[in-house]
């Protein structure tokens, strides 16, 4: 997997999926204009009684549905599915949500955000009509966010004032003005306010990776000198994944060896009992059996069996 892809997916799904949706589903604002007003209902941060925006992330209620959005850890791939296009350096994120109203045909509604990480804006409407499917096809209007056209300082202001989630910080090096030292200093101040040391490490690590994608790695690496990325959750997850994969590999290897041995022994015994070539279905059922206990039981049955028919019955073939 492309490392930028890996970093971007991680930044979308695992830092704060809800915060990402809230920040990216809104329409981009013109420079100097606050962003809270243009957040779509589904992801708008509810206003407090006084009318001021409730600081992120104190409230997680969707005003339209009165439901609580699932927490980040509960998002599965079909809830928030990022798709990377390495050719264009874009990331399309599909957010799958419960419908606003009772909808008899589909249990979910799907919206998508197209993040242009480095390139220019693209069309908001995608039309997918395969030529060999007659007039069938899909049309999808996506929210296009072109990071190089979005103001880094504005995002920092929004985050500082609780109108956007901190999880958007890693994307900042890709934004307009994302190479300014003042931006990096403010970035560090806001990221430093994150109490979770792992998450803070993630912000730093991901920002550095994405800075490299935009050719700003030098200034960000220098700016983040001393920033703690050693405790990055990404690394910890990769490590845990490596260990789990190794464990599964070891288990599978050993188990395959045991099954091979049991099948081999059973087939030899069957051969001896049958005194003739074994029926193909009998061999197939033994070779297809993956439960060692069943193979053990069949071995026992074979010791006592007096005919191939009896065995076929014991093996569930009769």
């Amino acid at each position: 997997m492309n490392p930028f892809d890996q970093a971007a997916r991680y930044a979308v799904k695992l830092l704060d999926a809800e915060g990402f949706c809230a920040g990216c589903c809104r329409k981009p604002s013109p420079p100097g204009v606050g962003t809270a007003g243009s957040i779509p209902n589904r992801f708008r941060i509810p206003a407090s009684r006084s009318g001021a925006a409730t600081p992120w992330p104190l409230s997680r209620v969707w005003p339209a549905t009165r439901r609580r959005l699932r927490s980040c850890s509960n998002f599965s791939l079909d809830r928030l599915a990022p798709c990377w296009n390495a050719w264009r350096n874009t990331l399309c994120v599909f957010a799958v949500n419960p419908p606003l109203q009772r909808e008899p045909r589909v249990p979910y509604t799907v919206v998508a955000v197209l993040l242009n990480l480095t390139g220019p804006a693209q069309a908001e409407v995608w039309t997918m009509t395969p030529p060999d499917f007659g007039d069938l096809g899909l049309q999808l209007r996506v929210r296009v966010r072109t990071l190089r056209e979005e103001d880094a300082l504005q995002l920092l202001t929004d985050i500082g004032q609780g109108r956007a989630a901190r999880c958007l910080l890693p994307w900042l090096p890709l934004m307009r003005g994302g190479d300014q030292s003042t931006v990096i200093e403010e970035w560090k101040r806001l990221a430093g306010a994150e109490a979770d040391v792992r998450k803070r490490g993630d912000y730093g690590g991901l920002a550095r990776v994405l800075a490299e994608l935009s050719g700003r790695d030098e200034i960000w690496t220098k700016g983040l000198e001393g920033w703690n990325v050693e405790v990055s959750q990404v690394v910890l997850e990769w490590q845990a994944q490596a260990r789990a994969e190794g464990r599964e590999e070891g288990r599978a290897e050993e188990r395959a060896e045991m099954l091979k041995l049991l099948r081999e022994r059973l087939l030899r015994l069957l051969q001896k009992k049958a005194q003739a070539e074994l029926p193909a279905d009998l061999v197939a059922v033994v070779q297809g059996q993956t439960d060692p206990t069943v193979l053990g039981n069949w071995l026992d049955c074979t010791i006592d069996a007096s005919s191939v028919e009896e065995l076929r019955s014991a093996f569930g073939l009769a």
């Binding site: 260990r243 190794g246 590999e249 045991m258 022994r265 026992d300």
Partner: protein
């Protein structure tokens, strides 16, 4: 794949955990080996009981319980099926 020094740095740390992968693999092997041995012990003792129509003697049970090599189980299983008597099986296991 574009090489990112930062990601390579992360990967280096993750690869420091290649040892972790190896450890995980060793853990998996050991777990599955323990399970395999348990399965073979059960099959072997049942086979002995069935073939020779006696409960396996304690010394035989002990030697089977202490065995951890699949290759040895494989040989013993074959012997348990083809030995003409329990005594012959015990001799093969060097118990007599």
């Amino acid at each position: 794949m574009e090489a990112s020094p930062v990601v390579l740095e992360w990967l280096a740390q993750a690869q420091a955990f290649t040892s972790g992968r190896e450890e995980g693999r060793a853990e998996g092997l050991a777990e599955a080996r323990a399970e395999s041995c348990a399965v073979f012990r059960e099959i072997l003792l049942l086979t002995v009981q069935k073939r020779f129509q006696v409960d396996p003697p304690a010394d035989l049970v002990a030697v089977v319980q202490n065995q951890t090599e699949l290759a040895v189980f494989r040989r013993w299983l074959k012997l348990s099926i083809y030995a003409s008597s329990l005594e012959e099986f015990r001799v093969a296991l060097e118990l007599s």
